[in-house]
Amino acid sequence: MTLKDRFEILAKQWSDHCQQMRFSSIMADYLDHPAYRELVDLGTSAIPWIMARWPQDNLPWEFVLQKITGIAMIDDANEFSPPQVRKKWLDWWSEQQRRLPSSVANGASTRTDKH
């Protein structure tokens, strides 16, 4: 099984969990699942796949990205703007793609500076 296959399986498991939790207003209910933690553990390799998937689902990927990169786009996890945070991450990704060779930015393993 490739890392990409593993990512897709975990993303599906987490998506199913979030679907079950979709009426909860407590963000921790969405994040409290083994697949979420395993997605974080995939590290920077998963970032291009997350970015490709994000426009098509409602999963709170911003928390996965924050854990992976150490970049704090969310100042206060108890009160934040999902649309603004999403835009910050998409802008960040556009900047990464501009800087990195396309082969790296589109799916090969990447390194990201932790802030």
Partner: protein
């Protein structure tokens, strides 16, 4: 109550999963807006459509302290009495929480807002914005007599 809007959003709430979550809801609700992860119930109760504000539970001896502070910042004060009637120039919010078998507040979970016309609206997590009577959401998940902010 218009039950024809957003029919696809009604399906999960009217089905078995919805019945388990909200046994008293039935089909007695109107969907006002589609599912979105852009905002949740607390944000909606404060008039925000682009914020996710977690319901926060304080310590065992002051479980509402954090929400008291949050709502006080917007001019709401917790009422000693439960009143769902419409009164001119009074905005009401009800807050829901789960309760232990001993009757202690465990976790604050949800909020609903009284609209100017007297109806009640609430946003279900990442789900839809909808209107129903506040009592219809009192279930295992939203189990306590709502506390009210005016």
């Amino acid at each position: 109550m218009d039950k024809s809007k957003f029919p696809e959003e009604r399906i999960p709430l009217e089905g078995e999963a919805g019945h388990q979550l909200f046994p008293q809801l039935g089909d007695n609700f109107e969907v006002l807006g589609p599912s979105t992860s852009d905002y949740n119930c607390i944000a909606h109760s404060l008039g925000k459509k682009d914020l996710w504000i977690n319901p926060q539970t304080g310590s065992a001896d002051a479980p509402f302290a954090r929400m008291d502070e949050k709502y006080r910042d917007s001019g709401f004060y917790r009422s000693d009495e439960m009143c769902l009637e419409q009164e001119p120039e009074i905005s009401r919010i009800v807050l829901y929480a789960t309760k232990s078998a001993e009757g202690h507040i465990q976790k604050i979970t949800h909020a609903a807002l009284q609209e100017p016309d007297g109806t009640w609206s609430s946003k279900l997590g990442q789900g839809p914005l909808f209107a129903t009577l506040p009592q219809k959401l009192s279930t295992a998940l939203f189990s306590v007599k709502p506390w009210q902010f005016i």
